[in-house]
Symmetry: C3
Subunit: 334 residues, 3 copies
Amino acid sequence: MRHLTRIQDLGPEGVEKILAQAAAWKRQAPGPIFQNRLLGMVFFNPSLRTRTSFEAVMLRSGGHAIVLDVGNGVWKLEDRVGAVMNADRAEHIKEAAPVLSRFADMLGVRAFSQGGGDEEDEQDSVINSFRKHVTVPLVSMESAREHPCQGLADALTLRENFGSTKKLPVTLTWAPHIKPLPKAVPNSFLLTAAAAGCEVRVAHPPGFELHPKVRAEAEAYAKATGGSVTYTHDQEEALEGSRAVYAKAWGPATRAGHAPGDVAALLASYSGWMPTRRSMSLAAKDAIFLHCLPVRRNVEVSDEVLDHPSSRVVDTAENRFHVQRSILQWILST
Amino acid sequence: MRHLTRIQDLGPEGVEKILAQAAAWKRQAPGPIFQNRLLGMVFFNPSLRTRTSFEAVMLRSGGHAIVLDVGNGVWKLEDRVGAVMNADRAEHIKEAAPVLSRFADMLGVRAFSQGGGDEEDEQDSVINSFRKHVTVPLVSMESAREHPCQGLADALTLRENFGSTKKLPVTLTWAPHIKPLPKAVPNSFLLTAAAAGCEVRVAHPPGFELHPKVRAEAEAYAKATGGSVTYTHDQEEALEGSRAVYAKAWGPATRAGHAPGDVAALLASYSGWMPTRRSMSLAAKDAIFLHCLPVRRNVEVSDEVLDHPSSRVVDTAENRFHVQRSILQWILST
Amino acid sequence: MRHLTRIQDLGPEGVEKILAQAAAWKRQAPGPIFQNRLLGMVFFNPSLRTRTSFEAVMLRSGGHAIVLDVGNGVWKLEDRVGAVMNADRAEHIKEAAPVLSRFADMLGVRAFSQGGGDEEDEQDSVINSFRKHVTVPLVSMESAREHPCQGLADALTLRENFGSTKKLPVTLTWAPHIKPLPKAVPNSFLLTAAAAGCEVRVAHPPGFELHPKVRAEAEAYAKATGGSVTYTHDQEEALEGSRAVYAKAWGPATRAGHAPGDVAALLASYSGWMPTRRSMSLAAKDAIFLHCLPVRRNVEVSDEVLDHPSSRVVDTAENRFHVQRSILQWILST
C-alpha cells in the first residue's frame, strides 16, 4: 500500500513521474479516474487551497471527499502511545485512523507543527500515527516536517516556466512574519527542488537553519540529480541571477533555545528581508516569484512583488490541483 | 462575465427573466443543468437556508458545491487595499478570489455588514473586493448592502400567491429585535418589489431610514415598472389593505450617531411594532405574511402570526432554491 | 411517513428486518439505491463516525449529504414551545425543520442530552421537536434518550460473531470517565440486545441506574423475543461466561440529586471498573469486546483490551455504515 507523506516516499524518480503525469493531465484532463472513490480529509489546522483543491480534484474526477475538522465538530484526537486520556482529546488515532479507513478509499491528513521544536517536528507524530494505523493509502496535506503537495506544485510551476529544472538557479529566501511559522513549506521546496535537479540557494538570517536531516536529504537528492544546494545569510548574494525567488517565513532553529520574547524581537530585527521589487531586480530578468500562500502582504512580501506580472502565486495554487490529482492516482495504484 | 451581487445587475427586466425561469423550473425541473459544474461558497457569516439551498441546487442539478467558513477552518480574509497584514487576517482577497476561481466554475460569497455604518455598508467592500478579483462568475449570498437571492425569492412568492405583482400593495414593516440588524434584507425586498412593479409601503419608526441611494434606486425601478414606493412612521396606515406584510428588524440609520446604549433603548422603545394577528387584521383579507428567516419568535414576530395559515415563510424559503437555480444558470451564461 | 429516532419505531420485528438487510447488503452492495436522494444532517454535537458513515452511505449509494453544525456556521436553534427568543438561539426548530424538509429528501439529527437530568432526557425535546415539524423522514444520529444506529450496529456485530443472538449472554458494563456522560448508548445497547433476544446482563455501581421506562421497554422486548435482562452491582458476576462485553461510561441517575463535585468524586471512586484483560478473562473464552467509540484509553478502557484481537470496536464502527444504509432505505419506503 502506498502513502505519500514525505518526498522520500517518491524520491527523485517518483517526483519526475508525478510532475510528468500532472503536466500531461493539465493539458488534457483524464476524465472520471476517481469514480466511486471517496477521499476522507482530516484537518487539524485551517486550510483554503488544500481543502478546496483536494475536494475539486475528487469532484472533477468522478469521486467525492468528506471533510473533517478536528476539534471543530469532530472530537480532538490523541496521538501519544499509552496516554491516559483524561484531558481534552476524546479519541485516539489508534481508533480514528482504522475507523475512517473503513469508510473511505484513501485518507488525507493535515497536522501542522505543534510548536514543540525542530526535533519534535522531525518526529512528525500525528501524521506518522495515522500512517501506522490507517488501512488505506494516506496523503499528507501538510504535516510538521513536510508539505509535499506544495513542493510538487512549486516544481511544476518551475517546469512550466523554464521547460527544464536541471541546474536551474532558484532561491528560497526567508521572509519576515509576525510569528515563528513552521518549516514544512521551506523543507518541501528545498527537498523537491533538489530532487528536480535545481541549483538551490537558501538564504536566511543566522539562527534560522533548517534541520540537519532535511539538509542532508536535500544534499542526497541534489547529488543524485546533478543539482546543488547552498546556504547563505546574504539575501542579495542568493538572489543574484536566480530564475525563481521563493519567499517564505519560518521560525528560528529551536536548538538555539530562544525565549518567546526573544523570538518576536528576532523576527522584527529582520524585517528588511521582506522581498520588494528591488530584491527582484537582483534576480534574472525573467525571474518569477513564488510563495505557497497564504501570504501576509506588506509583512512577508510587499504588494508590489505580489501584484507584479512576474508573480506565479496563483498559477502555483492552481498547480496544487494538478499535482494532487496525480498523487492520488499514484497512492491508489499498487 | 456575469455577476449577481445586487439587483442593479439585473434591473427590472432581468428580475422578470429570473422570476419567469424560476417559476417554470419549479413546475418542471430542468434536469442536470449544472453537470460537471462546481460552486465554491465562501461564508463570512452563519447560514442555514442559504448554504443548504445553494448546495441542494447544485447537487440536484448534477453539480457540486464546496463550502468554506472564513475564520472557521479557513484563514480570515483581508479586503483592505494596501493593508499591512500584521493582525489576524492571514490572507488577502486579492489572492483568495483568483485562487478559488481556479478550482470552481463560479463563486458565492456571504459577507454581512461589519457594523461600521450605512456608508460603509453602501461601499460593500468585501463582496466588491471579490467581484474585482474573481475570474469566474460571482453570486452574492448576502452582503452588507443587499441580499438579492432573498429579494427574488420574496418576489416569486408574491407572484405565486397573486398571479401578478403589478401595483400589488405590499408592506415592508420594521420589526423589533434585541440588536441592530443589517439592512441588506429590507433593502433587497424594497428594490426587488419595486422592480417587480409593486406598490411598496415602507413603515419604520423615525430614525430607521434606509440609505438614500437605496431609496433612489427603488424609486427609479418603480418609475420604470409602474410601481410606487412610499414611506411612513405609521405602521397601521401602511398595513391597511396590504396584500403582503413583510416584517424585518433592522438597525437605526447610523447618520443619527447613536451611542450603543441608546440603540438598545431605542430598539426596546419600539417593541410595540412586533406584528401580531391584530396587525395582520388591518391588511387585506387574503394578505400573506413574509419574513426572510431566521426569525426570533415573540420578539420580532409573534407565534400567532408565524403559525397562522397566512404565513408564507417556509414557502419563501423553498423559493430560495428555485430562484437560485435560475440565478446560477444566468451567471453561467454569457 | 417513517421516522427512526428510537428502537420503539422498529420493535423486535423491525430490528430483525434492518439487521437482515444490513447483513445481506454487507455481503453484496445494493448499488445506487439513493440516486438523486439528499440527506440533510443537523449536528448539535461533535461526531466522527456518524457523519462520516452517513455521508459515505449516501455517496456510495448514488446520493449526497449536506452537513450542518448548529452554532458553528449555522444559527443556534430553539426547541421550546412559546419561547420569547431574546437570547442566543436565533431560529426555532418550528422553522428550521420544515425549511430543511423542502431541500432534502430526509433529515438526520444529532442532539445529545443537555445535561438537565434523566427526566429531561426521557422527553428528548430537540429530536422530538424535529420529529413534529419535519415533512420528510427523520433519522436519529443520537439524541438524549437513544442512539438507535449504534444499537443496531452493535447487534449486527453480535450476529456476525455468533450467528444467532437468541439467548446470547452479553454484558453491558458501566465504565469510568472524567465526566458524567449521557445514557443514550447504554440505553440503545440494552434495548437493541433485548429486542434481538439476548440474555443481557447490566452491571453498574449503585446510583447509576438507567431510567425505569427504558428498563421496562427492554423487559417487554425480552419477553417478546425469549431474551432476558438482569441488573447487578457486581461487575465480575456479570462478566462470568459472557460472550460479549460492552463497556460504556455514563453518568449517575439524576434522581439521586448529586452536586457536581459529588459526581466527580463518585466517578473517581469507581475507577476500578475500567475493563482490563483480567476482566475479559472472566468472560467466555471466545468473548468479544465492544465499545461505541470514541473511547478514552486507560480511563474508560485499558489499552490492553482495545489492542487485543478480541476487540470488535473497529468492526462495529464499520457496521454503522451497513445498518444505516438499511435504515435510510427503510425510512424512505412507503
